[in-house]
């Protein structure tokens, strides 16, 4: 268990709801859920969630801390925003799910090797590096995330599509050398580091 997690457990004791309200993005909305289940029925990946958002909201209120923070459910969010659009009480469900996923990852509790967690991290890191996403290095990083052998297999399987995209000028092999970049990427790195520092301090994750 990570130190951050131990500290969180000590601090909030039996009040997981309070922890979520104070530390998770838009977490203060959780107690507004009226358990209608529209979110659960609206999710395109619904059948693949171990616990639906509706269930997660009730589990938070019931103090099921480990079950919520260790599930891979939130990582199934495709960011389609159906649940937000349909929620009768206008809970920002998509953001709460992203926030819970982020919090569980930061505490070191999220499931290891979860593919959507991998893509979510790789995408952000790739974008921040030069200020703009490099689709080639991002795709390669995804293919090779489980090692070199699997990476070669994945690349070969997608070879036809890759070549088609290159021919259509929608994938540039030269991007491997760096590709598009923001001129002021140094400032971007500094401001993102600062933002993280401020947020970590506020959330007790410093």
């Amino acid at each position: 268990m990570s130190d951050l997690n131990t500290q969180a457990v000590m601090r909030y004791k039996n009040s997981f709801l309070k922890e979520v309200e104070e530390r998770v993005e838009d977490g203060y909305w959780v107690k507004m859920c009226m358990q209608c289940g529209v979110c659960a029925g609206s999710c395109p990946f619904g059948p693949h969630w171990e616990h639906s958002p509706q269930k997660i909201f009730m589990m938070i209120r019931a103090g099921k801390r480990d079950e919520v923070l260790k599930t891979d459910s939130m990582w199934m969010c495709t960011s389609c925003y159906n649940c937000i659009a349909r929620c009768p009480r206008k809970l920002p469900i998509t953001h709460i799910m992203h926030g819970l996923a982020n919090y569980s990852y930061r505490l070191g509790l999220s499931p290891k090797g979860q593919p959507n967690q991998a893509i979510a991290r790789l995408f952000w890191n790739n974008a921040i590096k030069s200020g703009r996403v490099n689709e080639l290095t991002f795709s390669l990083a995804m293919y090779f995330k489980d090692g070199i052998v699997q990476g070669i297999k994945n690349s070969l399987a997608m070879q036809g599509i890759g070549l088609g995209l290159m021919k259509a000028k929608r994938l540039n092999p030269m991007e491997i050398l760096g590709g598009h970049t923001c001129k002021d990427k140094g400032s971007i790195h500094k401001m993102i580091a600062k933002a993280r520092e401020i947020e970590d301090r506020r959330r007790g994750l410093a």
């Binding site: 930061r106 974008a127 599509i161 995209l165 259509a168 929608r170 598009h180 401001m191 401020i198």
Partner: protein
């Protein structure tokens, strides 16, 4: 007539050599004919998209988007920010609204922006290109430059997720938005009844959850065929890529024979306004849009 001026946020996928480069090609003729001038935001950065949440957290994500808003405020005072990409638009607008609503978040954002020598007052209006077309230009003016009506083309208008939710186009329904169908009809094509118009294609998870996403894509494509469409039209870069690219994968795995073109609304309009196939970026299709190309070459 003076051109309408906007601060333009192209987004990563629309850059040269990127997956939606043909989207960027196709807005040129369209905007010219509609007297729209897009002024690129200097040194704009990635919005982080929705998928950036795991590593990003809330404030870094807001700050990333606030940089683009601040650059707009500083370099293009008074202009609305316009994005062609729903993910860029969603992130920018979400940021603008959240910072307006929560002054403590705006203060924290500005503390971080200071590291980049920037400051945000928070008055930029972040909009989507289709919003500009519908609200500032209007359907009648969108119809005026049509010289080659797309007669005989049957089109499934696939709106997808993020152009439509959580913000969408004012006055339209989330469940059955009609604006894309209206735009299709404005340029002389037929908008078929299409029951998967707001279904999720899997988004970024098409990459990490191929099977689950391809199930979504299959129903999007099947429904277009069932409704008699010749092609699918979308405003979204990721929808376009996913629904076009993975048809061959689904064919390989499931023995289907999908081969339906997926184009952007900007490509339809460019052709209808007399642009060439090249102007419309039709050379960027993996599945050739033959019928549209034929009209362009007429």
């Amino acid at each position: 007539m003076a051109k309408k001026q906007y601060a333009f946020y192209p987004g990563c996928s629309s850059q040269k050599g990127a997956s939606a480069s043909n989207f960027l090609t196709s807005i040129g003729v369209m905007c010219d004919k509609l007297d729209i001038q897009l002024n690129e935001i200097p040194d704009w950065n990635c919005c982080g998209a929705s998928i950036g949440y795991a590593e990003g957290g809330e404030l870094p994500r807001l700050v990333l988007n606030a940089r683009n808003l601040a650059l707009t405020e500083q370099n293009m005072p008074g202009m609305d920010m316009v994005s062609g990409c729903p993910a860029c638009w969603l992130s920018s607008r979400e940021t603008a609204e959240r910072l307006q609503e929560h002054s403590s978040l705006l203060a924290e954002t500005n503390e971080a922006l200071k590291e980049a020598g920037l400051n945000l007052k928070g008055h930029v209006h972040a909009r989507h290109m289709t919003e500009v077309l519908i609200e500032d230009i209007g359907y009648a003016a969108m119809k005026a430059p049509v010289v080659k009506p797309l007669e005989g083309l049957k089109i499934a208008g696939y709106v997808g997720c993020q152009t439509n939710r959580p913000f969408g186009i004012a006055g339209e329904s989330f469940e059955n938005p009609m604006y894309l169908d209206k735009m299709i009809e404005t340029v002389g094509a037929e908008a078929v009844k299409y029951d998967q118009k707001v279904t999720c294609c899997g988004g970024a998870l098409a990459f990490s959850e191929p099977e689950k996403s391809q199930k979504q894509i299959r129903s999007i494509v099947e429904s277009a065929y069932d409704s008699g469409a010749d092609m699918i039209v979308t405003p979204c870069q990721l929808c376009q890529a996913n629904v076009e690219i993975y048809q061959s994968e689904i064919n390989k795995k499931q023995g289907t024979k999908f081969n339906i073109p997926v184009v952007y609304y900007t490509q339809l309009m460019t052709v209808a306004y007399g642009g060439s196939a090249k102007d419309a970026g039709l050379n960027g299709q993996l599945i050739k849009a033959d019928k549209l190309e034929k009209i362009a070459n007429k």
